[in-house]
């Protein structure tokens, strides 16, 4: 396989945006191209777009071609859309990576985009129900919060994880987001604010949940040769893994506080990258809810099973700790525009590994990890390096 690197990255402002679906594509695409001055859209031979529900939110399908035209890209090697609910962006990055590594493409943009907010607020929540099984789950009004609440309750019962520890994840990520001018929320949050915010699905309160957000993000992946020609600081893809336990709640392992698919996806990625959890400097993990980040510490191997609560409480996932988790503010602080999230995680790792993350910069970050999931049973992990091997 050929080496593959990120050479460019850009992101829109995340939030409740007064912008069309195409406006968001333009904004992220422009920001991404601006990061690689030597490159023009006509040089790219591929495009992959991660987007979950434009059919419902923009009444639009045929997404990759729409985006190619908007961006000025004329794909000659790869054009595709990926839909994998909340992991659509990272699933798209894996496709582009595989095409380039195999020699089937040289320069591919991966763009994630979602315009979730609707004129009628509860319609946006209704649309989120498309991500769970219509016949057995969504028909009851199920969306993500109760699923992750079940995991949180189990984790609290089995390991003594506390509400305050869950709240600490919210405080950390909202604090990080306050240093990110593109974040949905930039005011930070105190422990009291998180603990007294309104209950969504017990034990998860508002500030322990990610919001419904509009936004887009884009990265450009290049073969090794192209990468060295385009920039003196490429960020190398070192490993990747994906695994699935199940889709419906009934199909998942009995104990929702264990997410074995994440452990397997991480194991694949670490083995390929020839690094271990202790080597990771900075990690963008899928904190759709506070409990998800706590379980991610454990399944990614940053701490032992059941130790996720104390891990965040003692600052080990913050600046000055073992690994900086969610420096851009995570899904809770930045918001979660589904298809854009995985790509936005990569945009942050790209900046951190190039030393361009400004107020959020972790000095001398060399190894970065992203974790993106779609539900508790489906996980994707990427590992990036400042050096190619």
């Amino acid at each position: 396989m050929r080496p593959v690197a990120l050479v460019g990255a850009g992101v829109t402002r995340f939030g409740v945006r007064k912008a069309s679906y195409r406006d968001l594509i333009w904004e992220a695409g422009k920001a991404c191209f601006d990061s690689v001055p030597a490159l023009r859209p006509k040089h790219l031979d591929g495009l992959v777009v991660g987007s979950v529900m434009p059919e419902r939110t923009a009444f639009q399908s045929h997404i990759s071609s729409l985006a190619a035209e908007a961006l000025g890209i004329k794909p000659s090697a790869l054009s595709a859309r990926t839909e994998h609910m909340c992991a659509s962006g990272t699933v798209g990055i894996r496709y582009a990576y595989a095409f380039i590594a195999a020699g089937l493409a040289d320069l591919v943009m991966v763009l994630g985009v979602e315009k979730l907010n609707q004129p009628v607020a509860d319609e946006a929540i209704l649309n989120m129900g498309t991500g769970v099984d219509r016949e057995w789950e969504a028909c009851h009004g199920l969306t993500a919060p109760p699923c992750f609440a079940l995991a949180a309750q189990r984790h609290m019962a089995e390991y003594g994880t506390t509400e305050e520890q869950l709240a600490r994840v919210g405080v950390k990520n909202h604090t990080h987001a306050s240093r990110n001018p593109n974040a949905h929320f930039q005011k930070g949050a105190t422990l009291e604010q998180v603990l007294w915010s309104r209950m969504i699905a017990a034990p998860l309160r508002l500030y322990m949940c990610s919001p419904i957000t509009d936004g887009a993000a884009a990265v450009i992946l290049a073969s090794g040769q192209w990468a060295r020609d385009l920039t003196d600081r490429p960020v190398w893809i070192r490993g990747t893994g994906q695994a699935l336990d199940g889709f419906t709640l009934s199909s998942l392992p009995d104990d929702y506080s264990h997410w074995p698919a994440m452990r397997r996806a991480a194991r694949s990625a670490y083995a390929m990258a020839q690094v271990g959890p202790g080597d990771v400097d900075v990690a963008e993990v899928h904190d759709c809810f506070a409990i998800a980040e706590v379980i991610a510490y454990e399944e990614l191997g940053f701490c032992e099973k059941g130790e996720g609560g104390p891990f965040v409480e003692t600052g080990r996932s913050d600046y000055g700790g073992d690994v900086v988790v969610n420096p851009r503010g995570g899904l809770m602080g930045c918001g979660h525009p589904l298809g854009a999230t995985g790509v936005a995680q990569d945009v942050e790792v790209f900046a951190q590994l190039r030393g361009e993350a400004g107020a959020r910069q972790l000095p001398d970050a060399a190894i970065g990890l992203t974790h993106n999931n779609s539900g508790m049973g489906e996980h994707v992990v990427m590992i990036y390096g400042r050096d190619p091997a």
Partner: protein, 147 residues
Amino acid sequence: MATYARATDPFPLQSAEQNKLHEFYERLAEGRLTTTACARCRRVSWPPRGFCPECVADEFAWIDLPVEGRIHGFTIQDAGVPAGFEAPRVFAIVSVGDARIFAPIVGPNANTLTVGSRVRLAPLRVADDARGSPRHLVAFALVETSG
């Protein structure tokens, strides 16, 4: 001109001409909880399935599951429910035989449940489909305990 409208049916189509699992729904309307068992390897699935993931046979028998189960886990959602649904909603994983079934807990005392509470099948009649066929969803209610 069309006005801004939601065009969505939140419930599955359940009738014989629209769903291979229609017998499940016909029995659910009678108060029975059934699922598919593979005719070849006997594997019992939940939810019911169109073919067996083990041996790939597509002949199956419908078997009855117990109509009583116990709460394996639950959460009460107070806010953020989709358009067309009312909060609070009591969501549970119910252990029924070897199956773990996701379902809402209904009834006036639903929010008094605890892990281990006994519940009984209480099929929920929802909106008819566009052709007027009745539809039912799986739901459970707490079993009143004496004393």
